[in-house]
Subunit: 436 residues, 2 copies
């Protein structure tokens, strides 16, 4: 062990973490930082999904030029600046071959603001629909948003329901009551890095149409299923999306991972043309307006949260999207570095007796990428996460992501240089101590 | 008339504005822009409160330097970067002589995000307190936020309740039931540009303590009561604030007006030390956490809306606050240009038979500044706003701000050069046509 039981327990007490096994991502980060500070021993930080690359310089240069104008003084338009809306629409076409009008592409202060606003609109549009369905495992913050809003959710772990028919049966069971307002999942998946197949996406789309639920498709790791090269604009293969199978969708995009731009808080949502112009009596009544979904979401909901998105950042984001669609910035090639890091990490874990938990997309091994999941024998989530902390390796317990499986989430983003050897040594020590 | 009845009516129909008299600020802006586009005749744009000066270059230079580092790739801390928290706390001390710990100074994506999060925390902390009290007239967006959240509010127009005792009587009447969770007002006031006296602030503070309501003091126009020079750091006179009279407060600050930085969406809230550390059972239960007000607001509410504030902008904002507190950037002198513009506008209005509606702070003429209010005879709000549009002058009806008075809000920010002569001519034409 790198950190003694006493040291870890002391810091847990100091930070007021009620139960280490159930620690949130924020608590794990604080714990790792504090232990590093106290002991001088650095952690292998597999916890937070932070970009491990430099920001896309196309964006920072465009932002700097914008900062030299008077634009920082001027409120951004509620619906976003025209060039960003246009480039967002073009990007969706270039890499997904999906048509969404520029009007429906709305900048948000991080995709997190997009899901916050999207949840509100989806849940307010029809009084009979009051529940969000999570296809888990998933991003805990999205459930926390519903906690803020005081709204209901249901969830299931997709692990035992892969494939079109099992998924359809499970979704039908959850949606039959008619209360589901929205369906949310991420693809590629945070934390499990599974990728839904076209047939699974078709099923989700069909269920959304059948039960009139809005799909919030979280594409934070857009194009990062590195088994396929999705990096060439306006060419097959295109990134898989539910948008091919239903008109009831909001795509959630972010600059955080594909452009290593997490610090600037820039994302956009793409609301399907059909949904954008659909009228809901409940929205018309609540906001004394047209009741049209897109304009209400933009002007009456998102505008009330931040009154627009940082002006210079919108210019930078537009420039990055344009560079990608022009074929001048290959974000897939850039971020494929994460796949190489993940592969090396998985090899090390497996060498020491660990296994990948979510290991296949039905019949195909999952991709290497930003995240993966790891188990050790039948250790519970909290046990494994806690034990690894004693060996200087921080991670997230899968139980905090809506997973029913035993294991942890590991992030590959920060693994560079000598850290692989350190990981190897620490896991060797772990394995030695835990061999039964 | 500059625009014929038919032209205006045509555009109102085209834009789908249900009733011009009740037009929101957004609708007035669209109408003015569209009329300009159609006719080629520019408007005197007194509608939106947009900075009419260049952005503070201390901020843009610091942002540019930050953009050259790896900081744009890195998620900002949920609670804000340390230098911004420190400078925010120092700024509050320098210009208000109020002590708020850096921990309680939390960056937000515009003060609008601060009130959104502040409302949520204030309304969730105690199930018995479910209502916000507006001391009106006020910023319509804050009521719109409560509409998004589905929360209750009450309001009164302060016009007939100026002075400590009348105000106390009115507030006691509204607060006696115990349902008021928060009290909100802006000072200097948007739209009326009245400034509350020290005795009035004392009354509000005492009522907040007595009935355990949290004051959300909106200081968007900080230091812009130009009758007094508040621009010297760490010296009397200090900007008036309710923080001197209660511990139940959240101050809402923004870079938008004092640094002409509206485009970058940067503000901060300052939560009093007492409130920051106060524990609420309802918050502990809902968020399975400590229940402490400040940490819950930061990590469980604001973080769920945007996951932090644009990283480079935090660096820029910190630099501007530091320059102000160091006495190197006199934001009061900079923005006093608005007072000169307002004075000239008021003179022109008065020359043509208009009058200032909210004209005194009890016994003292109000300041000249960013906004003022104008009436004409006994014309109603909607009538005057609508009539002025026909003469190419756009404004906001006071009725949309919670005011019971008859008139409009005018913004001085964009009046430069030849526009004063144009205003003079247009008001002369108005007066000629409306003389009874």
């Amino acid at each position: 062990m790198i950190y003694s039981k006493e040291t870890v327990e002391g810091v847990v007490r100091e930070l007021g973490i009620p139960k280490l096994e159930n620690a949130t991502i924020g608590e794990v980060v604080l714990l790792a930082r504090r232990l590093e500070e106290l002991t001088g021993i650095p952690f292998i930080r597999m916890d937070q999904g932070v970009p491990g690359l430099s920001p896309c310089r196309v964006g920072t240069e465009a932002e700097k030029a914008a900062l030299d104008t008077d634009l920082p003084a001027i409120y951004p338009p509620a619906e976003g600046i025209p060039e960003l809306k246009r480039e967002a629409s073009r990007f969706v076409k270039a890499f997904m071959n999906i048509d969404v009008a520029a009007a429906g592409c709305i900048p948000v202060t991080g995709a997190v603001a997009g899901s916050f606003g999207g949840f509100i609109a989806a849940l307010q549009r029809d009084p009979a629909k009051d529940t969000v369905l999570f296809i888990d495992p998933g991003f805990p913050i999205q459930k926390s948003q519903l906690r803020v809003l005081g709204q209901r959710w249901e969830q299931f772990d997709i692990h035992d329901h892969r494939g079109a028919e099992p998924l359809r049966a499970k979704m039908e069971e959850q949606m039959a009551g008619g209360r589901i307002a929205a369906i949310i999942y991420s693809n590629p998946n945070n934390p499990a890095w599974i990728s839904l197949t076209e047939e699974e996406l078709r099923t989700i789309g069909e269920m959304a149409t059948r039960h009139d639920a809005i799909v919030l498709e979280d594409l934070a790791y857009f194009g990062m299923d590195f088994r396929t090269d999705f990096g060439r604009p306006f060419e097959v293969p295109y990134v898989p999306t539910v948008a091919r199978y239903t008109d009831n969708y909001i795509l959630m995009m972010t600059s955080s991972k594909i452009f290593s731009y997490a610090g600037q808080r820039a994302g956009f949502i793409a609301v399907s043309d059909g949904l954008f112009g659909r009228r809901f009596d409940a929205l018309a009544e609540r906001y004394s307006g047209s009741g049209l979904f897109g304009p209400t979401l933009t002007a009456s909901i998102l505008y009330m949260m931040t009154s627009g998105v940082t002006h210079s950042t919108q210019v930078g984001y537009a420039a990055m999207l344009k560079a990608a669609s022009d074929g001048e910035f290959d974000f897939v090639a850039e971020t494929s570095e994460y796949a190489r890091r993940a592969r090396r990490m998985k090899d090390i874990f497996e060498r020491h007796g660990f296994h990948v938990v979510y290991d296949t997309d039905i019949d195909r091994p999952i991709a290497d990428g930003f995240f993966f999941t790891i188990g050790y024998g039948d250790m519970t989530c909290g046990e494994l996460m806690t034990q690894l902390i004693h060996y200087g390796v921080s991670s997230i317990a899968l139980s905090t992501t809506g997973s029913d499986q035993r294991g942890i989430r590991a992030c590959s983003s920060r693994m560079t240089g000598g850290l692989f050897d350190t990981l190897d040594e620490r896991l060797a020590a772990f394995a030695k101590d835990h061999r039964s």
